[in-house]
């Protein structure tokens, strides 16, 4: 299911005290099956764009095509449910949305809202608990008895249980410890590779962009600043530095190496890529001759 923005602009209602940057004339496609990273500063319009993906917001002008549905400023607020089922959205710190008395019921809440019979919803909940890597015995526990990291998994399981085709994630690893972060990113990678799920992720971690994404959208002041593959985006480190968006650690390291005299014909994105590029220019252990 592709999601396409055509000349989409969004202005907040004039007069609201919490005005953020809206969107201005966005044209971009999130291809089906992609792992898209959405980057930009706080206030660049990332969250606004995100909320267009499942019609929580409607454009003030332009069209958002979600699969076969078209969302325009005139779209009726009703009957948007089908979209919200297909585009699962995980907000920042999603553990704050838990409310049920047991983990199972909370996960089953979403599917039930979309008309899944209760038995099936509860069965799905059970599967999801396993999928997100929670121990089976949490099923009847109160979500509020779990650790922060576990609560977040429950919340994500609650969205996955809706069986969306697209999974939208707003900084899903914020505030987690390194293990939690690694496991969480592993989960999304698994969903992307094994189930072919389209992933859209807002992140500030350029390492994650480099390691996982295959498509990047850069926003700035509500406008589309750049879009392309991570390699295309990170190929111009000066541009990113100028925009204060940061670089993947590998790219930074490679820059330091270049300054020293190393030559790379392409921008390395991960430590393994960098190691491979270095290996061509370095002697191996068993006393191989210098190049």
């Amino acid at each position: 299911m592709d999601i396409t923005f055509q000349n989409v602009s969004y202005t907040y209602q004039p007069g609201t005290p919490f005005q953020g940057v809206g969107l201005q004339d966005i044209n971009v496609t999130i291809p089906s099956g992609s792992y898209t990273a959405l980057i930009g500063h706080t206030g660049s319009g990332k969250s606004t764009l995100l909320q267009h993906l499942n019609a929580l917001l409607k454009p003030t002008s332009g069209v958002v095509k979600i699969g076969t549905r078209e969302i325009t400023p005139e779209t009726n607020n009703k009957h948007l449910k089908a979209i919200r089922q297909k585009v699962g959205m995980v907000f920042q710190f999603p553990e704050s949305q838990l409310f049920e008395s047991t983990v199972q019921k909370d996960i089953a809440f979403g599917p039930q809202n979309f008309g899944v019979p209760i038995d099936e919803a509860l069965a799905r909940a059970k599967e999801m608990i396993e999928l997100v890597g929670l121990p089976a015995n949490v099923i009847d526990k109160s979500p509020f008895d779990l650790s922060g990291g576990q609560m977040r998994r429950v919340a994500i399981a609650g969205v996955l249980a809706m069986q969306p085709e697209v999974l939208v994630l707003d900084e899903p690893t914020a505030g987690l410890d390194p293990v939690g972060r690694r496991e969480m990113m592993g989960l999304f990678e698994k969903l992307h590779i094994e189930q072919g799920m389209t992933i859209v992720m807002v992140t500030h971690q350029m390492d994650d962009v480099a390691n996982y994404a295959d498509n990047v959208i850069v926003l700035e002041h509500g406008r589309l600043a750049k879009t392309g593959s991570p390699r295309e985006i990170f190929a111009d480190p000066d541009w990113l530095t100028e925009k204060q968006l940061g670089l993947p650690t590998t790219t930074q390291f490679a820059q330091a190496l270049s300054r020293r005299g190393f030559i790379f014909d392409q921008v390395p994105l991960t430590e393994h890529e960098l190691a491979a590029l270095l290996a061509e220019q370095l002697p191996k252990k068993a006393g191989r001759a210098h190049e």
């Binding site: 409310f99 049920e100 008395s101 109160s142 509020f144």
Partner: protein, 168 residues
């Protein structure tokens, strides 16, 4: 006296009350606002005196500082106090039964919503108390059914009981 933790909690609940009171269900004939849930829970968790005080603070913030339309009239501050106070009398340290919830809501409706509030309007407008009482009574009939049901369900919902246990 309350310790720091509970004073702070009560303060945050006042803020929550003000926020929740802003959204309401509107059906063609009447409107249910949900601020009363927080008021009742404050009574349950903190007792009549502190809940009453919290309600007064909430009313002052609402009418003087946020400046909700309609202006300030001290009578309604007293109404706010009494409403929370009554919930405290019925719920504090008590087992929450259907009868208790029904009795509490009935008392609040009779004494505060119908009695005091009609009286205030009749004082301001210099019109007969009976008219306001009757006019309000029609709307409050729905409240009498809806509020006890909501309160009973909320006060027996496991996550809420869990929160109650965090207070002690």
């Amino acid at each position: 006296k309350l310790d720091t933790r509970r004073v702070v909690l009560l303060a945050v609940l006042i803020a929550l009350q003000l926020v929740i009171a802003r959204f309401a269900i509107s059906l063609t004939i009447f409107r249910i606002s949900f601020g009363f849930i927080v008021t009742a829970l404050m009574g349950w968790w903190f007792g009549p005196f502190w809940a009453g005080l919290a309600a007064v603070i909430g009313d002052l913030i609402n009418s003087l500082m946020i400046g909700v339309p309609g202006g300030y009239f001290p009578g309604f501050t007293l109404s706010a106090f009494l409403g929370a106070f009554i919930y405290g009398l019925y719920f504090y340290h008590e087992k929450i039964t259907w009868w208790r919830v029904l009795a509490a809501v009935t008392t609040v409706i009779l004494v505060v919503n119908l009695g005091l509030n009609s009286w205030w309007v009749s004082i301001i407008s210099h019109t007969p108390f009976g008219f306001h009482f009757t006019a309000r009574a029609i709307g409050e009939a729905a409240t009498l059914v809806v509020h006890p049901v909501i309160l009973y369900i909320v006060m027996h919902f496991e996550p809420i009981i869990r929160l109650k246990n965090r207070i002690i």
